[in-house]
């Protein structure tokens, strides 16, 4: 029989190995796509409009489509989500049935898969409200999808603000809303921004819901009622319809670069939150 001490050494080695495998998966994925995607990545690729369904040209319209959709979705979701978080943390009583239900539905919303959001967006925004396959339909759907992230990170940020801040503000004669605006929100702001940055990441990567609500037009997106295609949808169609693997790699690489930048910024602003409180 192997002595316990040796057994535990072997076990430790296995744990290290498993952790290394996960790191290995991440790095091989990024490295492989970088190596195959980098040659095709140029200023022209970013700035030129695609032609022949993406076989030629760049991906400029899909980058603009992604930006447009993300901006409109955040414009709709951020005020709502942050207000909900302020209500839940600052106003609702701990035993409130309403707050309990809001928290429960927010958790449920966070767990709903994007394809279900896509179906809902399609039947509600595209058909029922008659908005068609458009940026506004896509952005409204996306807004629902990122709401839980925004609210939850804002809730955590507000919770991390020490209780004494509020008490002192109230003691100085400030009102409740004044206290929230001037005393609670400023130190919580980096946390709220983290939620917004994470939502941008979600918007950049979202595909299934966007295909069903914003369509896949390669035209330059101008008005809110135009159909558009995001970079992720473009990658899907390039790869699945075998349009151009070379361009698919470059698009995938560009998406990964964006996600790495977004993750870095989110961490940076989380650190700020920790410093503030």
């Amino acid at each position: 029989m192997v002595p316990t001490k040796d057994k535990e050494k072997i076990l430790t080695a296995i744990f290290w190995l498993l952790a290394l495998i996960i790191v290995g998966i991440l790095f091989s994925l990024i490295a492989y796509i970088a190596v195959r995607g980098l040659p095709g990545l140029s200023m022209d690729f970013i700035l030129q409009a695609p032609s022949r369904a993406g076989k030629e040209g760049g991906i400029s319209t899909t980058i603009l489509g992604t930006l447009y959709l993300t901006a409109v979705a955040l414009f709709l979701a951020v005020p709502l989500g942050v207000a909900a978080a302020i209500y839940l943390e600052e106003y609702a009583r701990p035993d409130s049935k309403f707050a309990w239900l809001v928290n429960l539905t927010a958790e449920t919303l966070a767990g709903i898969p994007s394809i279900i959001f896509g179906l809902f967006g399609f039947v509600f925004f595209v058909i029922f409200l008659g908005l068609g396959w458009s940026i506004i339909s896509g952005a409204l759907t996306l807004a629902f999808m990122v709401l839980p992230t925004i609210t939850r990170t804002a809730q955590e940020a507000i919770l991390s603000v020490p209780r004494e801040y509020r008490e002192n503000s109230l003691a100085l004669g400030a009102g409740k809303w004044q206290t929230v605006c001037r005393v609670v929100i400023p130190p919580a702001l980096p946390g709220i921004i983290t939620g917004i940055i994470l939502s941008i990441g979600r918007a950049v990567g979202e595909t299934a819901a966007i295909i069903l609500t914003a369509g896949s037009s390669l035209n330059m997106p101008l008005s809110l009622s135009d159909s558009t295609r995001t970079m992720s949808v473009h990658l899907y169609l390039l790869a699945m319809e075998g349009v151009s693997m070379e361009r698919a790699f470059s698009t995938a690489f560009l998406i990964i670069i964006l996600i790495i930048i977004i993750n870095y910024l989110a961490n940076l602003s989380l650190k700020r939150l920790a410093v503030n409180n």
């Binding site: 996960i22 209500y87 449920t108 394809i115 990567g205």
Partner: protein, 317 residues
């Protein structure tokens, strides 16, 4: 300052605060209009968006999907293997089997791997490495599903085709890609659960002469059980609902998968593949597929939120 004077000072401070608050509220209400109350109502209406969202999503998907389920018959819709929407046969039996096969195979490897990694991060790794792993897992979680699907299409499928046989488009390919995608969910939640076990438990176990590994297995993991189960269920929910990565690597044939190398189609793939051109009953059948998916996910989430999270608080009693 001794304790007694400190107590008095604190007491006076509290009284001052109370007075200030009271005088403020009085002043505020003599205006005949309470601004704080108005703000509270507006914020409350904002918070209600979540209830409205869930209600609207349920309502619209059920309205579009349920009539077809009743027309076909619940058991026929769920268990019939024939999916030929243009000829009027709507059975999602093969896709239920496909979703189950891909999800369970993914859980089979991702759960042990994720659990081991979270134990490693909290208990075994030097703190710096644990934190570094944490950020890498965050990055893994941030990579979009379509990128995972693309990687699967380009790397995993040729690998399976060359070394294991078949076309490569298979349950196995889906399970590998899905497993990687649910790892962050499993790792993050079970890591938090393991880290939340009070240090006393571990110290007590070590003091009784148990080794570190014995403490992990007999004391820490059992104490973190409900969090670990939450991690597995939410990972499962994520796997069932995942669409883009799965549609790119599983081949999408409507057959019952007879081995992990055979192609399959999941419920989510079915929706995204055919939604673009479906109309009439066909479109309703896709919504009906969505209804089944939606019910699965809501049940999993309710299990987590209503039962498991209730047992999470240590030392509350």
């Amino acid at each position: 300052m001794n304790n007694r004077t400190q107590e008095i000072t604190v007491g006076t401070m509290d009284a001052a605060k109370l007075l200030a608050i009271r005088s403020f509220t009085r002043k505020n209400s003599t205006l005949g209009f309470n601004r704080d109350k108005l703000v509270e109502t507006i914020l409350m209406l904002n918070a209600a968006i979540f209830i409205l969202a869930i209600a609207a999503i349920s309502l619209f998907i059920l309205i579009r999907g349920l009539p077809l389920i009743f027309k076909v018959g619940i058991t026929d819709f769920l268990l019939q293997l024939e999916w030929n929407p243009t000829a009027g046969s709507f059975g999602i039996g093969t896709m239920l089997a496909g979703t189950l096969a891909v999800t369970l195979t993914a859980l089979l490897w991702a759960v042990p791997m994720g659990l081991a990694t979270s134990i490693f991060m909290v208990e075994l790794a030097p703190p710096r490495i644990g934190t570094l792993m944490g950020s890498l897992v965050e990055l893994l979680a941030g990579i979009p599903s379509v990128v995972y699907g693309f990687f699967g299409l380009i790397v995993i499928i040729p690998f399976i085709r060359n070394y294991l046989g078949g076309s490569g488009l298979s349950v196995l390919a889906g399970a590998i890609v899905l497993g990687v995608m649910i790892l962050p969910t499993i790792i993050n939640i079970s890591r938090d659960a393991i880290a939340a076990v009070p240090l006393d438990y571990k110290v007590g176990s070590l003091a009784l002469g148990a080794s570190h590994y014995q403490s992990i297995r007999r004391v820490i993991l059992p104490a973190a059980r409900s969090g670990i189960i939450t991690a597995i269920i939410l990972g499962m929910g994520r796997a069932i609902g995942e669409t883009m990565a799965v549609v790119m690597v599983t081949g999408n044939s409507t057959i019952i998968p007879h081995s992990i190398l055979s192609p399959t189609r999941t419920m989510t793939s079915n929706i995204v593949l055919e939604m673009g051109y479906a109309s009439g009953d066909h479109q309703a059948a896709l919504f009906a597929t969505g209804v089944v998916l939606f019910i699965f996910i809501v049940i999993l989430n309710l299990v987590v939120n209503l039962t498991l999270k209730a047992g999470k608080n240590y030392g509350a009693n």
